[in-house]
Subunit: 603 residues, 2 copies
């Protein structure tokens, strides 16, 4: 049977063989999550994803969402699936059990998320925001706010959203103009307009809790004057009962390239001057709250984009195995049989590209979750800081690099199917369209690149070096294995060069050559991502070599040998290109930095 959505053997390999995730159960907070329980969770997630979510993906895309008179209808078939999903307890997998969460390790939740998002990413956007809004409340809310909202959000009884973007304040959040006026009774009157709000309105749930960024009258300009509010769609009385509808309405939904089954809403707050909200956290500290949440949200978006690639790879692979077309390149006579296209070298090149990136990126995302889990169970402040340092470097890569490469993989996934890939008869074209948004929202990938270079590397080179040091440890172990010597050396060359590139960029930043340095931010994100992905692949190959010693089943042996191929291909075909890109950064070309507006033409 062809695997769908995600390759179970590979998911298990990363969880158990590469990272040994069950070691987390030695810590009290994860005591319930031994290997068997983890397996069960992944199996259940997979079952739900394949049986219930996957069949709705194409029809959800075709049906899309409709808007009429302030109401949004999501695809009809989503109602039953949403009910199954939320009752299964999948919305708040990692959250506090006291509030209805499952208390799962982040790494395990990512495995489940891989299945869910690969099976039906637009559907998943309906759930993620309830969890996100809840997490903000869990972290920053008063006891009353927690009591009123948290269980209903984590159980999916109610929905959540995140009202951040405004027409003139997209990437520049500090420019927002939505206003909050204290009413004197602890509530605020909020007025403003927000756009690009996923799940801002929906018929899936009876109430939606909207976290809203706004500026309290008289607050400073810029990000320093932004506060966070909770604005329920239907007011919630102190006894938990529902009150009047609040003055927050959806004024329309976007027509867009993909994620058609997820409504992207324009929201008007206070158009009748009676939109009420309560402050969440401290005055003027709204951005700080957002930043705390952002790491997790960005890792989620990385998983969303990656999952499109994960599904696209498996579809392309299954197609390439059954589609008969042309003869083997070594065929010499008319009598030679026609072969499945997987036999053609160029198709194999595309498949192996998809395989190696998919595997490497899966490990990279799971590793980021694993570091979150390790930070949580860390015994000392120093240990926690170490893991947090890694996470800070990994997040922009997990979001920016992974979604960039995922989009490229989805494009290959169309290409392998040829003309059929362009039709709606196969999921490939939808996966490509859906994946595109992951490069844009939750901070465009340009923003991610600047985060890595300016905010992370620019402030402190330590964590970056420490992470590369970890990679070096894998290299050192792999150099002891004769089958891996060559590829270990290749990766070592890249790591050394990446260190030089990072040092060079830091020097430029410190010397104040900001326009030049930031023009290199995205190339730097690319080469960092390539190197970390290569590290993951070498780590996998090393694990596979060790497992091969005692493996006996044909399927296992094939799997482990496939790991050596993925790593070999990546080191042989991708890393040299990455080295070239590092060379380009070191060349100090100033074309971008010195470019002035009028030289771009077009007038």
């Amino acid at each position: 049977m062809a695997q769908l959505a995600a390759d179970r053997r590979d998911v298990d390999f990363v969880l158990h063989e590469q990272f040994g995730i069950e070691q987390l159960s030695e810590h009290e907070c994860f005591a319930d999550f031994n290997a068997k329980t983890i397996d069960m969770i992944v199996s259940e997630a997979r079952q739900l994803a394949i049986k219930e979510l996957l069949p709705l993906m194409g029809e959800g895309d075709l049906e899309g969402c409709t808007f009429h008179d302030g109401q949004v209808k999501v695809p009809g078939s989503f109602h039953r699936a949403y009910d199954l999903f939320r009752k299964g307890g999948w919305i708040a997998m990692c959250e506090d059990t006291a509030w209805g969460g499952q208390g799962m390790p982040a790494t395990v939740a990512l495995a489940a998320d891989n299945y869910f998002n690969a099976a039906n990413y637009p559907f998943m956007l309906h759930n993620i925001l309830a969890q996100g809004a809840g997490k903000l409340i869990e972290r920053f809310g008063t006891e009353l706010q927690k009591k009123l909202f948290l269980k209903n959000l984590y159980s999916g009884q109610w929905g959540g959203s995140m009202l951040l973007t405004e027409p003139d304040a997209g990437s520049d959040v500090g420019a927002l103009t939505t206003k909050a006026l204290p009413n004197g009774d602890g509530t605020y009157s909020i007025t403003g307009n927000k756009i690009f709000i996923s799940s801002g309105e929906t018929d899936l749930v009876p109430n939606i809790i909207h976290p809203v960024l706004a500026r309290i009258e008289g607050a400073p300009p810029g990000t320093a004057g932004i506060s966070l509010f909770l604005v329920p769609k239907i007011w919630v009385n102190h006894d938990g009962s529902l009150g009047e509808p609040n003055d927050i309405i959806c004024t329309g939904i976007e027509e867009k390239m993909g994620i058609h089954a997820s409504p992207t809403c324009s929201m008007a707050l206070g158009s009748r001057d009676i939109c009420r909200g309560t402050l969440l956290g401290e005055e003027n500290r709204g951005m700080r709250a957002m930043f705390v949440m952002m790491n997790r949200a960005r890792l989620h978006v990385g998983m969303q984009g990656f999952s499109c690639a994960s599904a696209s790879y498996l579809n392309a692979l299954a197609y390439a195995r059954r589609r008969i077309q042309g003869k083997s390149p070594e065929a010499s006579t008319d009598a030679d049989p026609r072969v499945p296209i997987i036999e053609h070298p160029d198709v194999r090149r595309m498949l192996l590209t998809m395989k190696s990136f998919t595997e490497g990126m899966r490990s990279l995302l799971f590793y980021t979750g694993f570091m979150e889990d390790m930070a949580r169970v860390a015994g000392s402040h120093g240990e926690k800081a170490l893991y947090q340092g890694r996470i800070d470097i990994l997040i922009p890569v997990a979001k920016g690099y992974v979604t960039d490469r995922a989009f490229e993989m989805c494009s290959l996934g169309v290409q392998i199917l040829g003309g059929y890939g362009f039709t709606r008869d196969f999921p490939q074209e939808q996966l490509l369209r859906d994946c595109k948004i992951t490069q844009i929202f939750e901070g465009t990938n340009g923003i991610q690149a600047m985060d890595l270079l300016g905010r992370k590397l620019g402030r402190d080179q330590g964590p970056f070096e420490e992470l590369l040091q970890e990679a070096q440890k894998t290299v050192a172990r792999a150099r002891e294995v004769s089958a891996l010597k060559g590829i270990a050396r290749a990766l070592e060359g890249n790591i050394l060069k990446l260190k030089a590139v990072a040092g060079h960029l830091r020097k430029k930043l410190q010397s104040g050559d900001i326009p030049w340095a930031f023009a290199q931010a995205h190339p730097f994100l690319e080469v960092t991502g390539d190197t970390l992905t290569a590290w993951m692949l070498l780590w996998r190959a090393l694990t596979a070599v060790q497992k091969l010693e005692s493996a006996s089943g044909k399927k296992d042996i094939s799997f482990y040998e496939g790991q050596l191929r993925s790593a070999g291909f990546f080191m042989g075909s991708v890393l040299p290109v990455s080295l070239g890109r590092m060379e380009a950064i070191l060349l100090d070309d100033r074309s971008v930095a010195d470019m002035s507006d009028d030289l771009f033409g077009g007038r």
Copy 2:
């Protein structure tokens, strides 16, 4: 005023300053096409494109095509535009004036096509096939066939199509099963099913002339037994009057990712056993006829994909100039003003990437057309062969490399607009969706890569070397100019390495290591394309430096300086990556070649 669809200054630069296209008018067949006439043609094409075609692009995509009971309706607004287009004589720009063509140089037609396709590529698909079917008849038809069909096709009175692909014979054309039986009266009875037929049915024209590939009963298997037939939708009597409807019907149209306004038809021939056609050209020589036509068709597809990028760049540029967001990276206080996003280094990086690729690829496509024109006016057989040799190398690059990069540029064109780029409020997402098919049809880009490596380089290294020799001449001239010394040296390094790579691949092919060599076909296409694009950019920079000596207008000076930046950026940021890719080819990694089906996982 922002330029739309294509940058007129740049189009003129390539035609007149880089290539001096008016020199063609010294030859009798192009005597009418002096500089002034060429300008007039480009102006008229631009006017028609911007005023009539561009406004229909978005609505054509939304409305799409409908199929009901064998009938296809194209977007309603296309009827008027089609009438204007065909009456303007734009369908057969380069074809023989004796049959109603305009006899234009190919280079000039490409400039017009750049405007048309950038303004509304799906609309253009309705025209291109009438020209293509006509060209086949002009080249291979009997006098009667020419008399009956040619003028009606070239004038757009009737439509054309191309029935090649079958469900089990896509890239493997030789596997087709459509049959032809001689009726004894010079006609054939044809039965079979074809898929993916652009404009197979339409309500734009009263008749469609379908060239059909089929196998005459008893013919050899494979491509050696394929013949070409003309099958009119409505039979055409010998006096030119219309007869009975023929037994060829559209059985459905594809739902697809893009080009919604172009119907992609499934066609049934002879389902009532009375589908009649006439042989076009010789028995069993159908594939030869197709190959003759293919160069032009592939260049056209390159222009289609490129035109999406051309429009996407200009839209992104105009947006980046007016969208105010964030402060300059060098801003230090709250009082610093917010700036247009073109001021942000990462946006500038994306724009300069789009600019340099767009300019380089425009020159590359026009150059290919220019070589066709030069071949046509060549004074000797040797001279003609020289140009034809260049064309043979250039075609897979103009189709495969250009559409691959064009798709990447369209993706950047979405990215620059952020969330807005993902919505249908801007053309960016449609350009990305439409562009995708150009990587697939008229031979997937994998097929193009194999054509370049196997059929072109593999048979004769001469033309490849000769083309690089031409590039070396530009390098030699540029090295004499102090401002260009550095970038000339950079390109020279790439050319030398590309020669080594080509030699290495040829050796592998000759030694019979086909699986390895063909796994490198696509990387080889990429590095060849990068090098040729860089050549074009250096040539442009050299031209610009010369022009700068006497330029006085601010706009001209900016344009020429912009050329130096494009070339500088490409040599400094793209060529090093390309060198890395060449390095990878020379590494002889065997991962793809040695990969076996079971190692891919997914089971």
